[in-house]
């Protein structure tokens, strides 16, 4: 029995330590910071001052009365919903297309679409920096100019003429192109795990490709659909790295291109360095994260899927 304890500690200890240090403690610490007036990382001075709900009151006030903060809220809602739809259905379409393709072609396309996910964020943002650049060298501008759709370069993400739609378009487009690959691989591997006999049997019964999709592939992958939906919603609420550089590099407007998560990060680290306020804003994300996460775990029936290790003696 003693031996078991030590070996369990050996295997699990280090990971638990890291999880505790970088998830559990910060979670509580972060909530605590939201009750302090911390600014400019002056830990020594502010961390012991407890100011109750003041940061939350401030946050509430800004949300109510500051038009820029309103923009953040609206942008977050629009961004999450639209990108979610694009990611889930785009991923589904890609998965279907690659499922019905030649193996080789499908592998090539999947590699291509996974590329944005693997690319370093700085490089990925750089691609779109070039693409949406507000001068004539921007790829989009040069295409539009050559097609004579515009007569001088436009700043889609910045020019008030196009706001908020221009900025939204850019952040949705850029994040969507990364996001679809998630649905693609999950759906694709779900389709692949359906016995081929079922597809063939349906063909023998006279089913067309669309019928096979509607009556076999989609009904059998409902679980995966929910899974992708939930997980994409999470990651869209929480994601900020891609958009961070686009804002820093002045590709998109810092107001209409900023989601709640990015607002938290920028408030804490780059703009006002108001960590108390940022922590209060981040608490909302944590609550959403925990609540949605638990609902998802229950809805997806994870607990039942975790089998006992039968052979452990």
């Amino acid at each position: 029995m003693k031996i078991r304890k030590t070996s369990l500690l050996f295997f699990l200890g280090p990971a638990l330590f890291v999880v505790a240090l970088f998830y559990i403690i910060p979670l509580f610490l972060s909530v605590y910071i939201s009750f302090t007036p911390m600014v400019d990382w002056n830990v020594n001075r502010y961390l012991t001052q407890f100011i109750g709900l003041q940061n939350y009151e401030r946050l509430f006030h800004i949300v109510m009365y500051d038009p820029d903060m309103r923009a953040v809220v609206i942008t977050t809602v629009v961004f999450v919903l639209v990108t979610l739809v694009i990611n889930v259905f785009g991923g589904l379409l890609l998965a279907l297309a690659t499922y019905f393709m030649d193996e080789k072609m499908s592998a090539a396309y999947q590699g291509l679409w996974l590329l944005p996910r693997m690319t370093p964020i700085a490089v990925y943002s750089l691609l779109w920096y070039y693409f949406f650049h507000s001068s004539g060298i921007g790829i989009l501008n040069s295409i539009l100019l050559k097609l004579h759709l515009i007569d001088h370069p436009i700043a889609l993400g910045l020019d008030p003429k196009y706001l908020p739609w221009g900025a939204w378009f850019i952040i949705i487009f850029v994040n969507g192109l990364v996001g679809v690959s998630y649905g693609m691989i999950i759906f694709y591997s779900a389709f692949k795990s359906i016995p081929k006999e079922l597809i063939i049997a349906a063909r023998v019964d006279g089913a067309s490709t669309t019928r096979i999709i509607r009556h076999i592939l989609l009904p059998l992958t409902k679980w995966h659909f929910t899974f992708v939906m939930v997980w994409q919603m999470f990651s869209l609420l929480m994601t900020y790295a891609q958009t961070f550089l686009l804002v820093e590099w002045r590709v998109v407007d810092s107001t209409w291109g900023q989601t709640w998560a990015l607002y938290v990060f920028r408030t804490a680290f780059t703009t006002t360095k108001d960590q108390g306020l940022a922590a209060a804003a981040s608490t909302f994300l944590s609550i959403i994260g925990i609540v949605l996460g638990i609902i998802a775990l229950k809805a997806l029936g994870y607990e039942k899927m975790i089998l006992e290790p039968k052979g452990d003696i």
């Binding site: 006999e197 049997a201 349906a202 006279g206 009904p219």
Partner: protein, 367 residues
């Protein structure tokens, strides 16, 4: 209704030739069984008929109409897979109704047809269940119902009983046979179980290495195998082979025992100028004893093993390079001593003769 013809059909998968230049005619309304060892090309042949695979070369005809390029749906075949391939997310009713819905038949008609076929296969009480709530035998019937409900011109079955236990297998195969006869539907049935084949087939097609070894009624296949492969594949245990030397006077000799073959055989031996010959006989047509018996062909060998199986025993004797299994009464078999020299006394009238070069039965060689 429909007869099927395969004309020089070949199917390759890369380097593997799964079906090799097969020509076969399947008569209307008959039940044909494709029988052969694993990897022989049975499933491939079946899928070629179904239209799942496209032949690398050769044509396939239904009623003399070329269907080679038609899809399975256009061929109107019913197919039962080895693992049944029931749609797991649909209830039994919807599984059976699926092919009809695809044809956009009216609801009332679908309903009556589903009930009709369900009644026929006695699964009416299961219509409300999901496939995973059914036993193997019930799933098999649902798969059959789904194949039959669209009134296919051809019914194709790929080892449909292999997932069932032995008792159920015997029971259902009888049912299948009765049903096939009632409906008079042209059927192709794949199995590697020869007793199943012998029990239900109108005609058996033995396939090995992608080549048809023999085609014929169960009796023909059993009584008169066309070549050594079929002889040693059919029967339980299958036929035994011994080799003999043809002497000047036309008699055949093995380990000192002599045999005069029937005149027809003798003549073919002479014409083919055979020096050696292979002889096959069924295990039940010989008796093993210490001394050679009168009127029998009695090669000598070493007694290797006696396996008593109740009333009868399987006696294994090695004669030169050949292993021979004889079925004889246990009581007699137990008298024999393992390792001693024994004689295998074969009834000469039951012996089949094969050309050792082509391994063909001499009876099938044109005179």
């Amino acid at each position: 209704m429909v007869s099927i013809r395969l004309d020089k059909v070949t199917k390759r998968f890369g380097k593997v030739v799964a079906v090799n230049n097969v020509s076969l005619e399947i008569e209307d309304g008959k039940l044909y069984v494709l029988l052969g060892p694993s990897g022989g090309g049975k499933t491939t042949t079946l899928y070629l008929i179904a239209g799942i695979y496209k032949p690398t070369s050769g044509r396939i005809y239904f009623n003399e109409k070329d269907v080679t390029d038609l899809t399975p749906a256009e061929r109107n075949v019913g197919l039962v897979f080895q693992n049944y391939a029931l749609y797991p997310h649909m209830k039994v009713y919807d599984n059976i109704a699926f092919p009809l819905r695809l044809r956009k038949e009216p609801k009332s008609k679908i309903d009556s047809k589903v009930h009709e076929v369900a009644k026929f296969l006695r699964i009416e009480n299961l219509l409300d269940r999901y496939p995973h709530q059914l036993s193997g035998g019930q799933q098999q019937r649902v798969a059959l119902a789904r194949a039959l409900v669209k009134e296919p011109s051809v019914l194709l079955l790929d080892e449909p009983l292999s997932n069932l236990d032995a008792l159920l297998r015997v029971y259902i195969r009888a049912e299948l046979k009765r049903m096939q006869q009632d409906l008079g539907i042209t059927s192709v049935y794949v199995t590697h179980d020869q007793s199943e084949a012998l029990a239900i087939a109108d005609k058996i097609v033995v396939i090995n290495k992608g080549i048809i070894q023999q085609e014929g009624t169960p009796e023909q296949i059993y009584e008169n195998p066309r070549n050594v492969f079929v002889a040693t594949f059919i029967g339980n245990p299958p036929m035994n082979i011994v080799k003999g030397t043809v002497l000047e006077d036309g008699t055949i000799e093995t380990t000192g025992s002599r045999l005069t073959p029937p005149p027809a055989v003798l003549e073919k031996i002479k014409r083919l100028k055979l020096k050696n010959i292979l002889m096959a006989f069924r295990p039940e047509n010989a008796v093993v004893s210490e001394h050679p018996m009168e009127g029998r062909f009695s090669p000598m060998g070493d007694l290797f093993e006696v396996e008593p199986l109740g009333r009868d025993a399987v006696v294994t004797v090695t004669v030169g390079e050949f292993v021979i299994k004889v079925v004889m009464p246990t009581r007699e078999a137990m008298q024999l001593r393992i390792g001693s020299k024994v004689h295998v006394n074969i009834d000469p009238s039951t012996i089949k003769y094969f050309d050792p070069n082509t391994e063909l039965n001499l009876e099938y060689i044109e005179a």
